[in-house]
């Protein structure tokens, strides 16, 4: 049913969903409010394309959601009345259905986002709940995007809501001291949604929501709520600057094309321009991890070729990034920049040290980067071995194929040199 939704109605609903829910959640229990809004969205998705969009669409959704909630409570009440006859005061609450309220407070929308990305949730649960409650997607759409059955996704969402309740979270703004870390959780969930879209974007996307674009939309909405937060700006910049390369990063058969081999004329200049402006803003606001990563992405996007890339500047940014986030993957990426500035031998020495870090020992990307550095230093036999070792351990099919092609290329270079 949902696939026949007109695009305009679909977009309108996704935009209105969190607004209606945050008004509802202020007054009612979050779990039931969220279900009621979802039912209202499904009703709108069938009725609006047929009967036309109502004059006050937010009011319509709110009204229908409250009706659903009331029906739900009524049936619950009559069940209980059959069991015992204590009912009185709860009825009074439902006798006054709150008026449709389009005037949503910024705090409510933020509270909703914090709730859906609650730190007690597993990433999979937080992603599912955020896409439904904040993104306004239906369970069917989310299930399809993640290629799992609808029943599985419905359970993930309902378990997420149970976990929030079990954690004792109420629909209220976290305390100031907690806020930064809660914004961090929100950004992490949005980043994961984008990453999921980034990976699954190759191949047929028939009837599937584009998760990368959904993530960008949600970060834009978050930015409207937190306009002065540098990390929000940084994450949006990072997504736009990555999305800008989409058309160039896969070949006709979905094969991976790395940055240094991409046709840069396919990059989206408008996205790069928008992202670059945001990078400046993000860096000025405090140079957090997302801001720094976006600055690195901008330097890549602004270069006409790999050779013309400002590698010393990228290396300097990796140094700062290494200070604000202790992440072995950052050090690994830094090694590539070291090779471009100081040569592969020095970079290989750094990898030897990095290999001692238990968080990354045995990771295929360590082998992939080492292979790349060995290749740069013309040690083709070792490069081939490392590329193969990396290919054996990656869980990503296009990436495995790419690493095997690199191994074969290294073997060919070795052969040419020997003859």
């Amino acid at each position: 049913m949902t696939e026949h939704r007109a695009p305009t109605v679909e977009h309108l609903l996704r935009e209105l969903a969190p607004r209606v829910l945050s008004v509802m959640a202020r007054r009612h229990d979050f779990e039931t409010a969220e279900d009621a809004v979802q039912e209202a969205l499904i009703a709108a998705a069938t009725q609006w394309p047929r009967d036309g969009v109502p004059g006050n669409p937010a009011g319509w959704l709110h009204h229908v959601a409250v009706r659903r909630l009331t029906d739900h409570v009524r049936s619950e009440m009559s069940r209980r009345q059959r069991e015992d006859t204590v009912a009185g005061e709860v009825w009074a609450e439902w006798a006054f259905v709150p008026p449709p309220d389009a005037d949503v407070r910024v705090d409510d929308s933020l509270t909703l986002l914090f709730m859906c990305c609650h730190p007690t949730l597993t990433p999979a649960s937080a992603i599912a709940l955020t896409l439904r409650a904040v993104g306004g997607l239906t369970t069917v759409e989310i299930a399809r995007a993640f290629l799992v059955p609808e029943a599985t996704m419905a359970q993930r969402i309902s378990r997420a809501k149970q976990a929030i309740r079990a954690a004792g979270a109420t629909f209220s703004m976290p305390a100031d001291m907690e806020r930064d870390s809660r914004v961090g959780s929100v950004l992490h969930v949005l980043y994961l949604i984008f990453n999921e879209g980034y990976v699954s974007s190759e191949g047929a996307q028939l009837h599937r929501v584009d998760l990368a674009l959904e993530a960008i939309r949600l970060v834009r909405a978050t930015r409207a709520l937190l306009p002065r937060d540098g990390e929000v700006a940084g994450l949006l910049a990072l997504m736009l600057l990555t999305e800008a390369r989409r058309a160039a990063r896969t070949g006709v058969n979905g094969e991976l094309i790395p940055l240094d081999e991409q046709d840069r004329s396919l990059w989206d200049r408008a996205l790069i321009a928008e992202g670059s402006v945001l990078v400046e803003e993000a860096l000025q606001a405090g140079a957090g991890p997302y801001a720094l990563q976006s600055a690195i992405a901008a330097l890549h996007d602004e270069a006409a070729s790999v050779g013309e890339t400002d590698w010393p500047q990228i290396l300097a940014l990796y140094d700062v990034l290494g200070e604000v986030s202790d992440n072995p993957m950052v050090k690994l990426n830094r090694a590539v920049a070291v090779a471009m500035v100081h040569g592969p031998i020095e970079a290989l020495g750094q990898l030897d040290r990095l290999e001692q870090d238990p968080r990354i020992t045995g990771h295929y990307r360590l082998d992939a980067v080492r292979a790349h550095l060995l290749q740069l230093s013309a040690q083709f036999d070792q490069a081939e071995k490392r590329y193969r070792a990396a290919a054996e351990r990656t869980a990503n099919l296009p990436e495995r194929d790419y690493l095997l092609m690199k191994a074969a290329a290294a073997a060919r270079l070795l052969e040419q040199r020997e003859h």
Binding site: P149, T152, N195, V199
Partner: protein, 132 residues
Amino acid sequence: MRFMLMMHAPRGNGEYAVMSWKPEELNSHVAYMHQLNRGLIESGEFVGAEGLAPPGQAKVVKSGRNGSPAVTDGPFAETKEFLVGFWIVDVESEARAHEIAARASSAPGPGGQPMSIPIEVRQVMSAPPTNE
């Protein structure tokens, strides 16, 4: 992370051993598997599960002349074991996939005893490259 959990059984005579089980043994086996699947749906980890027809009905197909199918009937004496059925689960960690596999493995057989059926666990190649 997605994993495929494959349940293997010795090839035998090409028929499933369950054919010779007592009805109550079969019942408790089926109930156990049903329960396992319900649990996976409820935990939000279920992607799919199927049981396969016995190997006596298996065919091997190769492309023949002009790409037309050349079909050979089973069972195939050379295979030592065969695939009985599989699950695909979407879980947070490999350890969790092992836990589910162990539960599938201890499904009751004759006499209601856990069978310790070997379950091959293989990651489905679709995981995102880890940038973190």
